[in-house]
Amino acid sequence: MVNIRINNTDLTVKEGTTILDAAKANNINIPTLCYYPDLDIKSDCRVCSVEIVGEKGLVTACSQPVWEGMEVKTNSPRVLNARKTLTELLLANHDDTCTACERNMNCELQTLANTLGIDENRFENVLEEEPLDSHNDAITRNANRCIKCGRCVDVCKNVQGLNILETMNRSHEMKVTPAYGKYLSDEECTFCGQCSSVCPVAAITERDNTDEVWRVLDDDRKHVIVQVAPAVRVSLGEELGSEPGSIVTEKMVAALKQLGFDGVFDTDFTADLTIIEEGYELIERIKEGGTLPMMTSCCPGWISFIEQRYPELIDNLSTCKSPQQMFGALAKSYYAKTENIDPENLHVVSIMPCTAKKYEAAREEMSVDGEHQDVDTVLTTRELGKMIRQMGIDFNELENTPFDNPFGITTGAAAIFGATGGVMEAALRTVSEVLNEEPLEKLDFEDVRGMEGIKEAELELAGNKVKVAVAHTLSNARQLAEKVKGGEKDYAFIEVMTCPGGCIGGGGQPYNTTDAKREERIRATYQVDTGMEYRKSHENPYIKRLYEEYLEEPLGEKSHKLLHTHYFSRN
């Protein structure tokens, strides 16, 4: 332990602790900008500069470990002046039209300037304007707002292992772009959106589709329905100010009703359906010698990753559409038919924790009839939060409201789709019961749960030992892909989710997501699971009815038309 003094407080902290962590643990606030928990310490912005008594220069609190007897001043006039100057310098090379910005009142730079009391900038604005990159359906890049904090480069390179965004040039001409300043759509970008979720300003954001949704909601000719992904119910509360891990399923439904949706449904329903289709696909591949290991296909970032970088593994991907797309396909067919709605006038919105889902919905083949896309508009959790705020809804005062039917009754297996390992666990619950023809003793597959990068489990299916693997983040996924490419035959089934922690840590989730918050959302996810009446997808009575009334059988003709898809090499 080391004794230090910060301002007028004497503290004893662990050796090796940074000044920032020591201050934080003792409720002393030091402003930061490039610092982000779980990412590398960059120490680039210098905003967390503090004074060590007796030292000439200032040090950055984020990077400086404490030493015995260190005396720190976090708010001396010298420190405050430096912080202010640094912030002015950043603002002087920044599009500072704050009120015309997506992140207005939710921007770390603006908050910093406000905290420091900056009311004028002594420096000339030197911004050289650059065009927007809004050439894809998922992510918009606005270089004029970038403050070169390096967070996006870090996640793209170190978390996802893609290294599409990089730091180009030097001096004041330095910028963060793909090679040659190209559009993201020209690169092998998976649109995972992790860059957007760590960006402190509005330099990288999801493509905003809220206006489009307001328009269709106002259009009397349109029947507008919405589906909500499993991960959103454990993060929307956080977006609206509650504690991380708050479960707000029924208030969320109420809010969506207030916004004016004609039907509020649960993507969990088609998650259950995915388990049936994917489960039977796995059984078929095992029994009939199909391509193994089979790899999950729920995650559009992962699909892009395979299409771009491992096209030779396309046959390993399950042909199942993702739950989002299965929902859209059923809505435009089964639902439109039973409700007697012209698909032309049916608008399907989905609320996803994900930016890549926007891209997925726009993929040409994601259409039942070649005319109408399965899903029309995708909003992120953040965008839904924005609409709720725009409407002035007092979220916490809403009355609990259940999802509508026929896509409202779901299982615990579907609920855990949002967490890494969840799809695997849900599939195992169904596949082992079907193959072993006896009820599972224990529903919880602990081996595939949690934040470890790559998880493995072994189990017995119909007398055979079967190995499965689960990975989250594309860096980890790449390791598995390399193994499979190298001919590894050990695994029967692999689940991959692109984002850290799975969809609960998706690129469209609330800003400032950290591993600690991901853990909370995961905890909430399993809490939803255990609270459900049904916990295995094949026990969902509405799924059974859907097969009886419409689909007939898993992997049947209708299923193939509506619920399965194909992939392309985009290498």
């Binding site: 680039d44 640094l86 310098l89 030197v126 030097r170």
Partner: protein
């Protein structure tokens, strides 16, 4: 005699391309002796010599050596910083062109002391000739058994590879250099850990300047105590001065520490051409202070230089006579830093551009009291908050002129019309 030739002693005596010449003049004797010494004893001699780094920061060399030697992690590296990019400095070029084996020998001795088996010389891309001279020397040394496996039958293995820079001043900064050696843009890393702990490829790395390594054979040869008899209380040994600007005889001069700057200019450089008055002298290079003539009685000494709060220790002396104006010089310096900033941290990336804009206002006689206040405040914040030593010293020249030539600033504000 002002000069004391220790590491430049062989310059006019040997053919740098001949290893035999070098050996004939006592070369590789120190190595042979060192290989028979205990490793800690070599470091102990360096400690006694009180050798401090010659690249500018003047860090005690034995502490660095000890730092690497005590690390368990392997492999360990020895890296020579030959990225002499600081304007006004050219002494490393002379050392490499005229006595390449002296540097190589110094690196081998260091490597032996810190138990490193691989060395790199990172040489700036502009130095084509020193590069080829060094490559030739390394090949020769390898042929003769001074480099490679089992050096002089000692059982010690060490080899050196030359790597080239590609046009970047900041790569002279230790971590930027290491990043560049790894094939990346030369942007520094956060400290700690220091290079001695996690340097090149995250391994313990002994990184020093050309001139520092060149001193090693002499320390082994003379013994640390004898070496420490040269120089002043705080600065031991000799220093090579790169003298340039308005002097009759620009060039390099090796002097013992403690010689007044004025003597270097007037006696070694033989004064200004046409005997004009010296107006100002910049010490260390673009990142060093600019002082008025009356201050040139200051002696060349690390401690004296430390008063300027900057890394003046590389030994450049740039003389400017009375035809030159402070602002023209500041403009060049500001343009240099604006162009060379790696871009990583805010104060250096954004600050140097804003500083340049403010200097331009003074050059154009468009400046106000407010500009003076802003330029001073900005320069101080840049100095205090930049991530690396180079960023911190970018505003040194400006801050020194604000101190010693303040009237020139005030004059520009008060008399915008006068030419």
């Amino acid at each position: 005699m002002l000069e004391k030739k220790l590491i430049t002693a062989r310059f006019d005596k040997i053919n740098p391309l001949s290893i035999d010449d070098y050996v004939e003049h006592g070369g590789y004797e120190a190595l042979s002796f060192a290989l028979g010494m205990e490793r800690v004893d070599i470091i102990e001699e360096v400690k006694k010599s009180q050798l401090r780094g010659r690249g500018g920061a003047a860090f005690p060399t034995h502490i660095k050596m000890m730092g690497v030697a005590k690390e368990e992690d392997e492999p360990r590296y020895v890296v020579c910083n030959a990225d002499e990019g600081e304007p006004g400095n050219f002494k490393d070029r002379y050392l490499m062109e005229n006595d390449p084996h002296q540097l190589i020998e110094g690196m081998i001795i260091t490597a032996y002391a810190v138990r490193a088996n691989k060395g790199f010389i990172y040489i700036r891309g502009e130095y084509d000739k020193p590069h080829s001279v060094l490559q030739w020397a390394i090949d020769e040394a390898r042929k003769k058994g001074y480099l490679g496996k089992n050096i002089l039958d000692s059982g010690f293995n060490f080899d050196i590879e030359i790597r080239s820079g590609a046009g970047s001043y900041v790569c002279g900064e230790e971590f930027a250099l290491i990043e560049s050696l790894e094939g990346k843009p030369g942007r520094t890393r956060v400290k700690p850990p220091f290079p001695t702990q996690e340097g090149l490829f995250q391994k313990p790395t002994m990184l020093s300047n050309v001139e520092t390594f060149a001193n090693l054979p002499h320390i082994v040869d003379m013994g640390g105590e004898k070496f420490a008899e040269i120089g002043t209380e705080s600065s031991k040994g000799t220093k090579i001065i790169s003298l340039s600007g308005n002097v009759k005889k620009p060039g390099i001069y090796e002097i013992p520490f403690g010689v007044p700057i004025r003597d270097v200019i007037e006696q070694l450089g033989e004064g200004t051409p046409a005997d004009r008055k010296v107006k100002m002298v910049q010490l260390g290079g673009a990142s060093g202070p600019i002082i008025p003539e009356y201050m040139t009685d200051l002696t060349i000494d690390f401690d004296r230089f430390e008063n300027f709060d900057s890394k003046t220790g590389a030994g450049a002396v740039i003389v400017m006579d009375d035809r030159f104006d402070v602002f023209d010089i500041l403009l060049r310096i500001s343009e240099f830093f604006e162009h060379e900033s790696c871009g990583k941290c805010t104060p250096c990336r954004e600050g140097n551009l804003q500083l340049l804009k403010l200097v331009e206002k003074f050059v154009d006689r468009q400046s106000s009291e407010k500009d003076l206040a802003n330029i001073e405040s900005l320069a101080r914040v840049m100095h205090q908050t930049s991530l690396c030593g180079l960023g911190q010293s970018a505003p040194t020249a400006l801050l020194s002129t604000l101190q010693y030539f303040r009237n020139d600033f005030v004059d520009r504000i008060e008399h915008p019309e006068s030419q």
